[in-house]
């Protein structure tokens, strides 16, 4: 090991660091601060700003510590011990400030600006510059989210290097040269990168600012707290800034194990939902209408409805680990049912689900970064788990070979090989990969070659049960590791807690006696009645509700009319179930249905954990107190249990943790090797296409509400994407409005023709403003569809469209 370590001296202090370390990093380890602007630990060294001079003994010139790597016995002097270095730094700051407007009093960065801070600490204090400064028109909007004030820019190239090295979205470039050099974007282009906000955060001056925060606050007005992003399963660590209790800004917080130092624009800018005017922070009960009532009163009524009745629970994917656990226990021990589900797809099949929920099958970001061959199956990482996308790019940069398997080309196109497979046929492709002529032959060979260095990421498009299982078997056969990637912030936590019809906490199968016994031992009694049998999944619950086989339906943090891939079924279920209890931040489209409403706390108001797609449970502390009389979901479940005469065994969070910990701890399990039944989509017949859908990053989701700048920057109208050949055979041209028809409904959408989609497939985003694609679905995320162009339109006028807009808007 010592061969890989280097010992050097900085300002007379010895430090030992790994070979290849930059001097500036070694100095940081000693607590020696060397001023810098272009240096950023996540970017390649540039040596551009020249602020970080040091004297390295034996070298004729001053060196920049951000580009010099350590050497054994190296003797370094910084500004603290060398006057020449200190003078050079002062001189360089004088140069840097020549053209800087010094408009700190009106600059968003004022008070937290590296240029301001370092000019104060290391700068000349006064300038000898008497000429006129360079000026530029200001600000230059780069997108609806990001603005550029070029005269503040010190040309450190952090933003352009981020676009080049990290996101690969090369919108920002340095133009021209010399004193005319500037950061610029091509005329007519927008900075349409879902990672654009990172450039604002790493700008060492106030040159890049974000519209949502521009002129909103001064740093001393803010109170700041750490949190974790509530949007997707990436688990990005955040800093949340509040002004007078309202969130005004979110920044990425460093966590090298998770998000490095980045986040996506949704995580950064979609922060207004907890303060939405639609938020309801009072319990409601339907009397002559929905009317405010006390928690106690509402819970009493709910308890009465549930007592001895058939109760089912549907949740979203963004509650906390604690909430899911409390619900899991409430359902089984108080309501005696396994009719609970957090999902809206077929999952991995119970065997693979158990492997994931028990922590047996998993991978971390570090595993992604260091894998040699990665198969990204059924996942559009940039749109669904953006930080995983960045980590995949990082892996590619380190030399990993990446294959993307799915029906649509992703933004990994420049670093990965895409194997396009018709939507819904991915599972079969994995299952038959050993056959002659398999499109996955190359992938298999690459995986087999690296053994444990291979990793298969099983994404949401495969989560129909059997397809996921095929991918898992494919990975196992090739000697590769695999991990499931889900989409929402705490899908994984819900699965671990057992908010699933067959799985108890920790991936324990309710059908397996020894698994059940472990849970019963922990919970202090046998699971009784229906709780001892597998329950219904989300679809089963909705069908049962529609058939009046369920008495009380809990809808927790979910907006079923928008979220489930069968709008018609949801509408029937809501209409036919006698009692609907809604527990959420707002009523949304459930307002006409709710019989009772329980106001839940938003994530920034809660104390608990959220589990990333990797299975990493991250602590979140409240950044502010609860709004109104809203309460954390787990507390509400505990109150319901008590009111019904039960006892979850915890009233406080620490008690809950003690109760939960033994059951959700990782444990080794073996699979029961039950191949799930095929629940795939209908095979498209002749002339039909496999229509598939998934939510884009910026869509009409509840958590993006009021994030207008985000919508303007990255949103898109609804569209239907078609392969050129499929368009040609139908006489459809780019931009034409076409009719899409499935067994569930029909819609008229503008067409985008793209060779980035598998032939025979058609894509529609799940939930763009103005069109909810679940009106075309019948329980699966892929469905056979016919597409007809305007010229070949033979649709009967009488066929009423259930599609566009509609009740889900």
């Amino acid at each position: 090991m010592s061969g890989d370590m280097v010992t050097l001296t900085i300002d007379g202090k010895e430090v030992t660091v790994p070979k290849g370390t930059l001097v500036i990093r070694a100095a940081e380890q000693l607590g020696i601060e060397i001023p810098r602007f272009c240096d950023h630990p996540m970017l390649e060294p540039a040596g551009a700003c020249r602020q970080c001079y040091v004297q390295i003994e034996g070298q004729p010139k001053l060196a920049t510590s951000c580009t010099s790597t350590v050497a054994p016995g190296m003797v370094v002097r910084t500004q603290n011990t060398d006057d020449t270095v200190a003078e050079a730094q002062v001189a360089n700051l004088e140069f840097l400030l020549l053209n800087h407007p010094l408009d700190c009093p009106i600059c968003d960065r004022g008070g937290e600006c590296p240029l301001q801070d370092q000019a104060l600490e290391f700068g000349p204090g006064e300038s000898r510059f008497t000429e006129a400064k360079r000026v530029w028109p200001k600000p230059l909007p780069l997108s609806p989210l990001v603005n550029l004030d070029r005269e503040r820019c010190v040309l450190c190239a952090r933003c352009t290097r981020f676009c080049d090295e990290i996101s690969g979205d090369r919108f920002l470039e340095l133009y021209a040269r010399g004193a005319g050099e500037r950061v610029a974007i091509a005329a007519g282009e927008d900075f349409r990168s879902p990672f654009s906000g990172n450039t604002v955060q790493i700008c060492p001056v106030g040159a890049l600012t974000s519209t949502p925060y521009r002129f909103v606050a001064r740093p001393f007005d803010l109170s700041t707290a750490d949190s974790v992003c509530p949007h997707c399963s990436a688990g990005c660590n955040l800093k949340v800034d509040l002004r007078r209790g309202e969130v005004v800004r979110q920044l990425a917080r460093d966590n090298l194990d998770v998000n490095d130092t980045w986040n996506c624009d949704k995580g950064r800018y979609a922060f207004r939902f907890p303060d939405s005017p639609d938020r309801v922070t009072t319990p409601l009960i339907r009397d002559r209408g929905l009317e405010p009532a006390s928690f106690g009163e509402v819970v009493e009524r709910i308890a009465g409805w549930c007592d001895g009745k058939r109760v089912a629970f549907l949740t979203g994917g963004r509650l906390m680990d604690e909430d899911y656990y409390a619900l899991s226990k409430l359902a089984r021990t108080v309501m005696h049912t396994n009719d609970l589900d957090h999902r809206r797809d077929g999952g991995l099949g119970v065997s693979a689900d158990a492997l994931v929920a028990s922590g047996t099958a998993t991978a971390t970001y570090a595993d992604v970064e260091h894998a040699k061959v990665i198969v990204v199956a059924g996942l559009d990482a940039e749109q669904e788990v953006p930080i995983l996308h960045l980590r995949l790019r990082k892996a590619a940069k380190r030399g990993a070979k990446i294959f993307v398997v799915g029906p649509r080309v992703t933004r990994l196109h420049d670093v990965a090989a895409h194997i396009l497979i018709r939507a819904g046929a991915e599972g079969e492709a994995f299952a038959s990969s050993q056959e002659q002529g398999s499109p996955l032959a190359e992938v298999r060979a690459a995986l087999t070659e690296v053994g444990e260095g291979g990793l298969v990421l099983v994404g949401p498009r495969l989560h129909d049960g059997s397809s996921a299982w095929s991918a898992v078997e494919f990975a196992t056969r090739s000697g590769a590791r695999w991990a499931a990637v889900t989409r929402r912030a705490n899908d994984r936590g819900a699965l671990v807690a057992g908010v699933a019809p067959t799985l108890l906490p920790g991936g324990r199968n309710v059908q397996l006696a020894e698994d059940r016994a472990e849970v019963e031992a922990a919970w202090g009694g046998p699971l009784m009645g229906a709780a001892a049998e597998p329950g219904r999944d989300w679809r089963g619950i909705l069908e049962a509700a529609a058939n009046r086989e369920i008495d009380v339906l809990f809808l927790i943090g979910v907006d079923p009319l928008r979220d489930y891939p069968d709008a018609d079924l949801v509408a029937r279920a809501l209409a036919n179930v006698p009692v609907r209890v809604v527990q959420s931040l707002e009523l949304g489209s459930l307002e006409p249905y709710a019989d009772a409403f329980l106001p839940a706390s938003a994530f920034i108001e809660k104390d608990g954990h959220v589990t990333t797609w990797e299975g990493r449970s991250q602590r979140i502390r409240p950044v502010r107190g609860g709004k109104g009389i809203s309460r954390p979901d787990w507390e509400i479940f505990a109150i319901i249990a008590t009111t019904m005469g039960g006892d979850l065994g915890f009233d406080r969070l620490d008690e809950l943790h003690a109760d939960m910990a033994p059951l959700v701890a990782s444990r080794a399990t073996t699979t029961s090797d039950v191949s799930p039944a095929r629940v795939g989509p209908i095979e498209p017949a002749d002339g039909e296409l496999a229509l598939f859908t998934y939510p884009l990053l910026v869509d009409d989701g509840r958590l993006s509400e009021r994030s207008d700048e985000l919508q303007a920057a990255l949103g898109t109208e609804p569209f239907l994407e078609l392969h050129p050949d499929d368009a040609a055979t139908r006489g459809i041209t780019d931009g034409a409005r076409v009719t899409v028809r499935t067994v569930a409904g029909e819609a008229e959408l503008p067409v985008r023709i793209s060779d980035g989609i598998a032939q025979g497939s058609a894509f529609v985003p799940f939930n763009q403003p103005g069109f909810a694609a679940n009106t075309l679905l019948r329980g699966t995320w892929t469905i056979a569809a016919t597409v007809t162009g305007p010229d070949t339109d033979d649709s009967a006028e009488g066929l009423a469209s259930v599609a566009v807009g509609g009740e889900s808007a």
Binding site: R170, F171, L172, E173, L174, Y175, A176, R177, A184, I185, A186, A187, G188, E189
Partner: protein, 194 residues
Amino acid sequence: MAIFEGSVLDDARAVIARYPKGGERSALMPLLYLAQAVDGRVTNDALVEIGKLLGITTAEVEAVATFYSMYRLRPTGTHVVNVCTNLACALRGAKDVYEEAHRAAEMDHGQEVSDDGVLTLHEEECLGLCDFAPAVQINFADHDNVSPQRIRELITSLREGSVPEPARGPVMKSFRHASRVLAGFDDDPAEGAP
């Protein structure tokens, strides 16, 4: 209207083929010249089209185009007259040549194109003609030992529609012609003529 179509697209492909596989981006500079040969300057459309040809963003193309002084992204005369005023030429009276060029062309300082559209004047850094100072280039063809009187003759000739014979090499009939040569196509000068 597309710039890279027909024979120009063939030329572009030939330019790209000069470079090793994987090094296609090296064609960016000659492609900018090729576009400049078509339009007399590098237009926004050219930036977009070149980006598409090479699989890079428009911004990446423009970043390069704005870095080098021989690409003109702004309106440009039929002929570009470069007057070197760097030290070796300055010591031999280049400043007077430059001023006289403006008078002869009836152009103000900072005016990009003469009113008749014929000329763009450019104060140049060292052209590598120090042994023939003061030096001038018309469409990058050399003119040696240019006195103020001589620059007036040269400019008058250009304004009258005739391009003077340079000191070495063939006449560059226009800035477009020169751009085509700079893209590496010198076999058929007529091809590049306006």
